[in-house]
């Protein structure tokens, strides 16, 4: 049962920031509400004030072709990202992840900014943005600043956003030409218990891995890139037993790094095993994507 709260509807980032500064812990930003209202209904969180930021023009998707950068405003819904032509064409891993996020109702209401700011550990979005080396633009407080995803989402339900700051947009650089990318997850119902993504950038000759990116999320408190897995893949051939060996090594690195927790979705041991399996599947899918021409 939701408890009564006072509603604030600022029209600008500065106005929102001022309200948040004044009310401190008494207030929380409200956008789609798909995470926040759930937690408030269950009595896990209680805020006497909600600050609805949907009157601030923070919604929209644009792509700068020259810079190769996608911008997604904080109050853009998952549905808008899922159905965006430019996202589908240039960022197919992001589009595919969005198509499979939660359910169609959550996607119609839930926002990109809310997902990142709430930092629910089972978020697919943060893992995928990590793979694109995305950055977040943060406003309010003492002015604008940018932060990489690892410097924004730091722990379960924990970000580096100050009390009077809010997310403005995320900027997503396109992957290098020819890159293959894939995200694989394992989920009961809505919340994935394991999510692993991989990006493989082929060399100029197209037969080896120039750059590899591997991220694992949902298993532990916050998603993370796995440097040991990326090192194991760098320079590896894209096919044959050498590729299989490199993916096995990468999977072992992800199993070591993934920091799983026991919960109702599975034991830590089980999730660790799955993280390895899904690493190999994501890598094979990314490799196949390279073979099919790649990019995104």
């Amino acid at each position: 049962m939701l408890q009564p709260f006072h509603l604030h509807e600022p029209a600008t980032v500065d106005e929102a920031s001022g309200i948040l500064r004044r009310l401190g812990d008494e207030a929380r930003i409200y956008a789609g509400g798909t995470e926040l209202l759930l937690a408030m209904k269950q009595g896990l969180l209680r805020y006497p004030h909600l600050v609805n930021i949907k009157r601030i023009p923070l919604e929209g998707i644009s792509f700068d072709e020259t810079a190769g950068r996608l911008r997604i405003g904080a109050t853009t819904t998952h549905r808008a990202v899922e159905r965006s032509e430019v996202v589908g064409g240039r960022f197919p891993m992001l589009a595919s992840m969005e198509r499979h996020l939660a359910n169609v109702r959550v996607r119609a209401v839930g926002t990109i900014g809310g997902n990142l700011s709430f930092a629910e550990p089972h978020s697919d979005l943060a893992s995928v943005l990590l793979l694109y080396n995305a950055t977040a633009t943060i406003g309010g407080g003492s002015g604008r600043r940018t932060a990489g995803i690892p410097d924004l989402v730091v722990d379960a339900y924990t970000t580096t956003l100050a009390a009077d700051e809010l997310l403005i947009e995320v900027e997503v650089p396109a992957l290098p030409r020819g890159a293959g990318a894939a995200y694989r997850k394992f989920a009961f119902f809505e919340r994935p218990s394991v999510g692993v993504g991989a990006v493989l950038v082929p060399s100029a000759a197209g037969d080896t891995v120039e750059e590899a990116r591997v991220a694992v999320g949902c298993v532990g408190p916050a998603p993370r890139r796995v440097a040991d897995a990326e090192t194991a893949l760098k320079g590896a051939p894209l096919r044959g037993t050498a590729f299989e060996r490199a993916t096995a090594e990468a999977a072992a690195a992800v199993r070591r790094a993934c920091d799983p927790v026991d919960d109702l979705y599975g034991s830590a041991e089980y999730k660790r095993h799955l993280a390895g399996v899904f690493t190999q599947r994501a890598l094979v899918a990314a490799r196949d994507h390279v073979a099919a021409g790649g990019s995104g």
């Binding site: 209202l37 169609v104 959550v106």
Partner: protein, 169 residues
């Protein structure tokens, strides 16, 4: 004009209300809703529109699915004040002049319900699906309906009903 019931709280000075005006099932509705009132409570208790059901209450099961400006939402976790200036459709608004909507008729013809509790949500999500994909593939149907649970587990006939509705709509 429908005047919602259950306005007792509105006199309570500690409860903040928002004045809203919306179109619900083709009728204008004006109301002062408490900020924390969910759309599901507003529809069921305020307007006696009880097609949308409360089941999981955590936007997983789809029994409370209604359309807001054509998009499906979980009314259980959606604040009523958000419908201000918008259009809301519930299962009650589908039939016209005593004739069932083609989706409703398809569910009846296919026998796509057992206890019926999930059915209004299934029908509304089907309406959203057919608006996005008038000729959906089986995979597209599954993508939209996987967030709507039937505890009687009669999914096969629901799938048949959606396919039939796509033919007749």
């Amino acid at each position: 004009m429908i005047r919602p019931a259950g306005a007792a709280e509105i006199g309570d000075a500690s409860v903040e209300t928002v004045a809203i005006e919306a179109e619900i099932n083709r009728r204008r509705v004006r109301a002062a809703v408490p900020t924390h009132r969910t759309l599901l409570d507003f529809l069921r208790d305020g307007l006696s529109l009880t097609a949308a059901k409360r089941a999981c209450d955590v936007q997983v099961c789809g029994a409370c699915t209604v359309l807001v400006d054509g998009l499906p939402v979980s009314a259980c976790t959606y604040l009523a004040f958000e419908i201000n200036g918008k259009t809301v459709e519930t299962c009650e608004g589908l039939a016209r002049d005593g004739a069932l909507h083609p989706i409703q008729q398809a569910f009846v013809d296919a026998g796509a319900l057992q206890c019926g509790y999930c059915t209004p949500g299934m029908i509304m999500i089907t309406k959203a699906l057919l608006a996005d994909h008038p000729r959906p593939s089986v995979q597209q149907i599954k993508d939209y309906l996987h967030g709507n649970l039937c505890r009687c587990t009669g999914y096969k006939k629901i799938l048949d009903a959606v396919l039939a509705a796509a033919e007749t709509e």
